[in-house]
Symmetry: C2
Subunit: 406 residues, 2 copies
Amino acid sequence: MKNKLYFKTTLDERTTRAYETIKEEQTTIGYYSLPEQNIQPILDYCNTISKEIQSIAVIGIGGSSLGAKAVYGFLRSVEKPLRKLYFFESTDPINIKNLLDTIDIEKTHFLVISKSGTTVETFAIYKYIFSKQDNPNAYTFITDPNSDLEKYAKTIDADILHLPDNVGGRFSVLSVVGLVPLALCGIDVQALLDGANRIKKSFFEHGYLQDILLQKSLFYAKHHAKYHINCLFAYSESLKYFTEWYVQLWGESLGKKQRHSAFHVGLTPIGLIGPKDQHSFLQLIMEGTRDKSVTFIQIEDFQKKIKIPSTPLPHLESLDTLNDRYFSDLITMQCNSVIEALLEEGDIPLDRITIPQISAENIGALIFYYELLTSLVGELIDVNTYNQPGVEAAKVILKKKLDAQQ
Amino acid sequence: MKNKLYFKTTLDERTTRAYETIKEEQTTIGYYSLPEQNIQPILDYCNTISKEIQSIAVIGIGGSSLGAKAVYGFLRSVEKPLRKLYFFESTDPINIKNLLDTIDIEKTHFLVISKSGTTVETFAIYKYIFSKQDNPNAYTFITDPNSDLEKYAKTIDADILHLPDNVGGRFSVLSVVGLVPLALCGIDVQALLDGANRIKKSFFEHGYLQDILLQKSLFYAKHHAKYHINCLFAYSESLKYFTEWYVQLWGESLGKKQRHSAFHVGLTPIGLIGPKDQHSFLQLIMEGTRDKSVTFIQIEDFQKKIKIPSTPLPHLESLDTLNDRYFSDLITMQCNSVIEALLEEGDIPLDRITIPQISAENIGALIFYYELLTSLVGELIDVNTYNQPGVEAAKVILKKKLDAQQ
């Protein structure tokens, strides 16, 4: 993975402090140590699931689903998974019905994922599905030790897996939350962790990425009032769900009240897919308000090589310069053209991430890169990166409504 | 369709002027008259397509695909379509290969849609697919009269349909661009137009929506510097692609240089789906920078009624208030709870659109509502709503690259 910044900033005592904080945080924030975990217990557990099972269905929402979806969506594009992975993550009745019509419930293993064990959506959907499939062996519960969900799972004698300590939902993809569904679909989760570990080492052992990540986070924090929208423009359909994972990670971690002021701050994340969104969002970046930074992601080697044929098409000769080109070269040229056009404007901060190809190792690296970047930016804009107090108010109101309408 | 605004603004001479401009624009901007068109020629044309054809594949990008996708995605959730609809809209080789593996090419009719006829992506994909299926009867070309694409289509004796005058790509869903693929999938396109016409009449004949649309557009324009991000938070998975259509419409129409100044202006659109994004983006709206307005969309009657069972689950009794509730009631309560929580903050401009149920008429109404709103806001922030000069620079650079590497 390479990362080229097209903007400059000088590291100063703020980045030194932030780096020290992040280093110390490793003892209290759980996600940093996930890349080095021993995954043998997870693999052993996955081997206990019957070969008859064709589908895995995650019942979970937000941090319990977005990470596995990002990795699965990325890798499935080039390799047929061992089992199909589905996500029940909405209380929309049409969505629940349609998903249930898609799967063969007798050949599906359900992973009920809720950190607290009392997520309304997860609970409601589980209860509905349990009325259709009441065999406890069809379920595994992934939750915090001693949660009510664990206590319940014990009463039906279902399998239980625990989340590691101090790993928040949106930072949990490299824990059991992501690894179990992915391993069950035949994905090489060790490679995923190896990729993450590569980034971790590069950052903490003064490798190439340390300087890049510090510069980028300082730039975002310093210019936060001006460039408060961050676009992630990925040139591959396979990264669609990765951008959704990024939106949660970035938005929920950085949209906060400051710790030492009454300011509301935040960097607004937007996921884009190229070249499609050149025909949608690009106009706004190019000519709209100068409030956006853009990170491009390119894939160097698309494993599926197909060529634009050279058959002559009368009256369309002006496009013959496309003849005999690989689509992969075309998409790369499209991305480069957009970068050049935006650079010419001179006042839109850009950077480019290049990943060699679609693999578990590379998506693991990308995930850890974004987790580190989020932690750094959070520290530099003075927020608590790891909580989400803003979602509580609506939960309290919902509870009151539910209680009132008994 | 109902629309309740939770903010107030007083109409003034600016809205009077904008309203007059929009009224006059009807003679020059084509989309306003689409709701009243005679669709018999489209239906007749669709009847010429063989009953053997099981899939329709649109080869088109941006305005040529997003509208049909929005309507199809919405309606397919409750009704099985006559034929399946696919979209080739990326030069990502993996995406093209995987899509081709999904369809039966011999039972697919391809709609090649490009206004100018020289869209690079559309052309490259068409050329590749034509090398796999060279029967001209498998294609219909939808393009401007006398475009190079039309001239080419004539040489292979394929069917050609014309776009109406002065209808830009992102305003074209109610023209042949959207109606042909949708009608071929058995969707009641007359109902779609009727829904749009209802909104048109309400606006131009001093109905209920005139005041609402003028107030809303004036508020967005007046407070543009503060609330420059507009979130569309739709509480139904079926509206996912509608939010993508909205992002293009809003972003590409309103992200511009002003006509009478050197200012870069724009309102940044963000599509969200509830309740899922309560677990992702809500934190940022609730506690982040106060730069966002939010429009909620609720569906009153979800046609699929399913209930949360009342089976007792030991240790999870705290959630028993959910028992025996319809999921549709739960999702509505969730949305209402979020609205109340945000209203309590007092400084986040909100409104709520309610649509009675999932139907062609209702999505037609929603589309026209957003088109009118976009035209009004564009007028009030002094941009040319209907062009997109900002996407040209990257096209010129791409052309140079292609020419250089001959």
